[in-house]
């Protein structure tokens, strides 16, 4: 009985503590802080893409969401919710310059992203429409909202390189040491 009681705290430690969180803020002076992708590199391991596809919609002649970070191998499903024709294609090498064609309302087409990098997603019927798919090597990433705040939860302990992607602005990568538990704060200020 005593040995069993001693085992319980150890068991709780294993199941309750699954890594730390990296929290912070991305700031773009004078601009909207949303749609920046904060991500980690050099995390060991193999990471599976989600089984279900993730959707990007074409609604009111806008891609929704505008920026979608995904793990390599993820399938993205493109839906046309508008009553006008839409097309999906990319000039980006990371997307193998795919062109899914043009289709009407209610239909979807899929593409699986198998190369790392940024993929600009365009519509050749409406050249002003644009989205970005950011293909990453692991699931430790977060996208900022208007406030610029981000949280990357459940990061295993270790030393990593943390970077920011934005379609227009840049910031230098930083080193981050993630402890076994607790949070780490890190902030970025982007510029051109």
């Amino acid at each position: 009985m005593k040995s069993l009681l001693a085992f319980i705290p150890a068991f709780l430690m294993v199941v309750s503590w699954d890594g730390a969180s990296i929290r912070g803020t991305v700031k773009i002076p004078g601009r909207d802080n949303r749609d920046a992708v904060v991500y980690l590199e050099n995390i060991p391991g193999t990471f599976k893409a989600p089984a279900a596809p993730i959707q990007i919609d074409q609604k009111k002649m806008v891609f929704v969401p505008h920026v979608l970070p995904v793990v390599i191998g993820t399938t993205v499903e493109f839906l046309n919710s508008d009553s006008v024709l839409h097309n999906v294609y990319t000039p980006s090498k990371a997307g193998d310059k795919f062109n899914l064609g043009t289709w009407p309302q209610g239909q979807t087409k899929k593409y699986t992203f198998t190369k790392l990098g940024e993929v600009a997603v365009l519509c050749n019927v409406h050249p002003d429409m644009e989205a970005w798919v950011v293909v990453l090597s692991n699931p430790y990433f977060a996208k900022t909202e208007a406030s610029g705040d981000f949280v990357i939860p459940n990061v295993p302990a270790g030393n990593y390189l943390i970077k920011v992607w934005h379609k227009k602005y840049r910031a230098a990568a930083q080193q981050v040491t993630v402890p076994g538990n607790g949070d780490v704060a890190i902030n970025f200020t982007l510029s051109k």
């Binding site: 009553s83 064609g101 289709w103 050749n124 019927v125 050249p127």
Partner: protein, 414 residues
């Protein structure tokens, strides 16, 4: 000279030299209303692509439901529940949320084969104030004020009521042309629009104040469809008529294949139309105009009639018309004159920003004087709203001063 006479003289000169405004063209305020670029409705503005034509046919609203696309919310003029109160309340409507004013500025450089000066900069050539929008669920408007040079002012406006897609009523400066001027890529007007049976006489592209009833419907499977127009205008150009006679005109066409006249997208159409300028369609139509103009000994009754054709295939658009005009007394000697005019134009969207074209025109007056004109050219869309165009007018009769003309035009709109 007394100052008052000077003022009257200035005003008279201004109005006498009043422009014949271009038919109402691409309106950037629609771009702001929907938060979308020019190429949603145009390629090489003001040329409308198939979707742009469907947009216009829907009373300048998005086919399939307008509300979902509006980014610039309108200002309500009465809540919609007032419909239940009518006739004890004014039927509710709305006005555009922000300014509907847009601008277009045009500069030209000319070279002619004869005359003085042969080479001329005309920068700026023209300033246009454009406006367009919708008012409530069934009204729409298009307007334009044009200033050319220092003293040439022109303006036209249309208010349109669209209770049903098969019946729309347009009041203002209507467009009694077989092929709308808004489709013209060139500085040179279409020959049939410029042609006058006699100097100072009526021409088809003159200002036409009047009323037009028109309608459209999709064809089978939501593709193609028919469209008609019947109009009554003052005739003789200008807003003020000179007699009790009114001119009448009519247009009827049927489109085979391609996007429906009122929009509506099928999967097949999606496959055929991978780019915003493309579709596969053939439109066959007929146009007729009957009018009266004064002649030296009374009046000249005339009519025009002829077919139109418009073919879209891959990256090319081939279109044209052939008109037979018969005047019964154009020279005042009671001798009728028959004139044949027509043209065929081929445009090729080589790249979305590069459109070469060539137009061949024929004007045969009284079976005697046959003028053939070739209008080759190139449009370069430097940006969606900055357009560079070069076109040449090369005529078969070369003895006339200024017969051949080469024009470089740069214009931008916002």
């Amino acid at each position: 000279m007394k100052p008052k006479n000077l003022l009257y003289g200035f005003l008279l000169a201004t109005f006498v030299s009043m422009l014949v405004p271009e038919s109402l063209l691409a309106i950037p305020s629609f771009s702001r209303k929907y938060g979308t670029g020019c190429s949603t409705c145009h390629y090489a503005y003001p040329r409308l692509n198939p979707f742009g034509r469907a947009f216009a046919n829907n009373g300048y609203r998005m086919p399939g439901g307008d509300d979902a696309y509006i980014k610039d919310e309108p200002v309500m003029l009465g809540s919609s529940a007032n419909k239940q109160v009518f006739p004890n309340a004014i039927w509710p409507s709305d006005i555009p949320g922000s300014s509907v004013a847009s601008f277009r500025l045009i500069g030209r450089t000319h070279l002619t084969s004869r005359g003085t000066p042969r080479f001329q900069f005309e920068n700026p050539h023209e300033f246009e104030l454009l406006m367009g929008g919708t008012l409530g669920e069934t009204f729409s408007f298009i307007g334009e004020v044009e200033l050319e040079g220092a003293d040439e002012l022109g303006y036209n406006f249309i208010l349109q009521y669209s209770p049903r897609s098969f019946l729309n009523i347009k009041i203002g400066n209507v467009d009694p042309m077989p092929i709308r001027e808004s489709q013209r890529l060139t500085r040179e007007h279409y020959n049939y629009g410029d042609f006058r049976i006699r100097s100072g006489g009526w021409r088809l592209r003159d200002d036409a104040a009047g009323i037009e009833f028109w309608g459209a419907a999709n064809g089978r499977g939501g593709r193609g469809g028919w469209q008609y127009a019947l109009g009554v205008v003052n005739g003789m150009g200008g807003a003020t008529d000179i007699d009790n006679n009114k001119d009448v005109y009519g247009r009827l066409d049927y489109k085979f294949g391609g996007l429906g006249k009122l929009g509506g997208i099928s999967a097949d159409q999606a496959i055929e139309s991978p780019q915003f300028w493309r579709e596969k369609s053939v439109t066959l139509g007929i146009f007729s105009y009957r009018g009266r103009q004064p002649s030296s000994t009374g009046r000249d009754d005339f009519y025009l009639v002829g077919p139109t054709v418009d073919v879209f295939y891959k990256d090319m658009n081939l279109f044209g018309t052939y008109l037979r005009q018969k005047d019964d007394n154009p020279k005042g000697n009671r001798i009728p004159v028959r004139t044949d005019t027509g043209f065929a134009e081929l445009d090729w969207v080589a790249k979305p920003w590069l459109i070469p074209f060539v137009r061949y025109e024929m004007t045969n007056i009284d079976l005697q004087r046959n003028v053939r004109t070739t209008v080759p050219g190139l449009v370069v869309m430097m940006r969606a709203n900055i357009r560079m165009a070069f076109d040449a007018r090369i005529r078969s009769i070369r003895r006339t001063v200024g017969t051949d003309r080469y024009t470089f035009q740069l214009d931008w709109a916002f």
